[in-house]
């Protein structure tokens, strides 16, 4: 067979590969142990930022590969916000590459809120959650302008602290607080508008 003819080259290559494999092996295992448990967190944020499953998949994969490349210099603090920061940068880079087509509409500024406000809710009382309420809430979150969506997802789903959100989004904590307040107030209005005709309200 072919390999017998090139034994010398092959042995050299093997030694190189074995040494390389040993040092990389530990890193590969640590990275998997530390980073992969956060896959659902990354995927969720990617879905809410990218809005399309294929793009989200690509963004998550790219983030993990990028994280691995920088894993040697990773010194903490926490793995989850670190990974989410990378993911956010990957998504933003993707938007930038697409000429900001997808964000230009909804990233204008904090005062530009184009959510449908409809009429004030009528029927009131308690919050009755119907079966499809989960779907409704998901839709409302997805309809939020980019930076508010990012803030609320990082807070409510990824369960980050204000400080961590500030890190991920690269803004001061005060901005995080006002974005969250805005996001929730938009969600309340939108929720009440959709729920006004049926069951409960959040006022």
């Amino acid at each position: 067979m072919q390999q017998q003819t090139s034994t010398a080259t092959w042995a050299a290559e093997r030694d190189k590969m074995t040494g390389y494999a040993n040092s990389e092996n530990d890193k590969a295992r640590r990275f998997r142990e530390l980073a992969l448990p956060h896959l659902d967190d990354l995927y969720t944020l990617a879905r809410y930022l990218m809005r399309n499953a294929a793009d989200a998949d690509d963004a998550v994969q790219e983030s993990y590969l990028r994280a691995l490349r920088h894993f040697d210099s990773y010194r903490g603090p926490a793995m989850k916000p670190w990974l989410l920061t990378i993911l956010r940068n990957v998504c933003n880079a993707e938007f930038a590459q697409r000429g900001r087509r997808e964000t230009s509409a909804d990233q204008s500024e904090e005062d530009e809120v184009t959510l449908p406000m409809w009429q004030e809710p009528h029927s009131a009382e308690t919050v009755l959650l119907r079966q499809q309420d989960g779907e409704t809430v998901r839709r409302l979150v997805a309809a939020l302008p980019h930076q508010f969506r990012e803030a609320i997802v990082l807070r409510e789903i990824n369960d980050l602290s204000y400080h961590e959100i500030a890190q991920v989004a690269g803004v001061p904590v005060g901005t995080v607080m006002s974005r969250l307040a805005r996001a929730r107030s938009m969600l309340r209005s939108a929720w009440n508008a959709t729920e006004g005709t049926t069951s409960g309200t959040i006022r």
Partner: protein
């Protein structure tokens, strides 16, 4: 404390971001202020609605498999695959093999051919996928980095025992990234690296071993799609995480360009 500034404090309160002193102050205000009390209730209701909506999403199995394949493997995991889902069609990498220590596992992974007496084709496919996975790690993808086919091709001269065809498929959506030396089945091979969107394709070219595979074979190893065929006395292996249809298109374009009479 006025209600306007309290608004943000209400959020901080439900988010558990206030220290005990501030939390007490806000709660004290809420007991006296109807507006803020109502706001706080509403915020809690929204919080609850969001929690019950179960907004968190689970990464699909296909993404897990892709990641599992894209990240370097600690070799012990190859021997004892864990809960990570893999495509069912995947054939056992080291089936029927007792590999005891990590050291021998490392050897087994990088030197499949010296240990495994297995289907030659499968061995080579595993080699190709290993080469592909190594190439995806930082700094391993390219030895010569250029999109110019006339730079890539001469670079291989004297480094491998074949002159691999380097075909420019940019117009077809496959960007030429460069070339690299690699090994398939113990023999040096030239790898021509292409990219479609974010997916890297390694096209490994080696002197043909064994029978001609004009028709080509197709398999999935560790979530990667691998196409193998022979043409013009050369063995071609295309490996990528690209979906099978697009990889098939890539193979067809390369194969068509190699046919006698073709302009490339």
């Amino acid at each position: 404390m006025n209600c306007a500034s309290n608004e943000i404090m209400l959020h901080a309160l439900i988010d558990g971001e206030l220290d005990a002193g501030h939390a007490r102050a806000v709660e004290g205000h809420v007991t006296k202020c109807v507006v803020c009390a109502k706001n706080l209730d509403a915020l809690r209701a929204l919080r609850l609605a969001m929690a019950e909506a179960n907004l968190r999403q689970s990464a699909p199995a296909s993404l897990r498999a892709r990641l599992d394949a894209a990240l370097p493997l600690p070799f012990a995991r190859i021997i004892a695959p864990s809960a990570f889902s893999r495509p069912k069609a995947r054939r056992s990498f080291f089936g029927g093999f007792a590999v005891g220590t990590v050291a021998s596992a490392v050897l087994a992974a990088s030197l499949v051919l010296t240990i495994v007496r297995n289907d030659q084709e499968q061995i080579a496919a595993n080699d190709v996928v290993s080469a592909h996975m190594r190439s995806l790690q930082a700094g391993h993808l390219m030895d010569v980095e250029t999109s110019d086919q006339h730079t890539v091709k001469p670079w291989f001269d004297g480094k491998v025992d074949v002159a691999p065809p380097v075909i420019d498929l940019t117009a077809q959506g496959f960007t030429l990234l460069g070339g690299r030396l690699d090994y398939v089945d113990g023999a040096p091979a030239a790898s021509v690296v292409y990219q479609r969107r974010k997916h890297i394709i390694n096209l490994l070219v080696a002197r043909r071993l064994g029978a001609e595979h004009a028709a080509g074979t197709e398999r999935t190893v560790q979530g990667y799609n691998v196409r193998h065929w022979s043409q013009s006395g050369l063995d071609f292996w295309a490996v990528s995480d690209l979906d099978p249809t697009e990889l098939g298109e890539f193979v067809q374009r390369i194969s068509a360009a190699l046919r006698p009479g073709s302009s490339s």
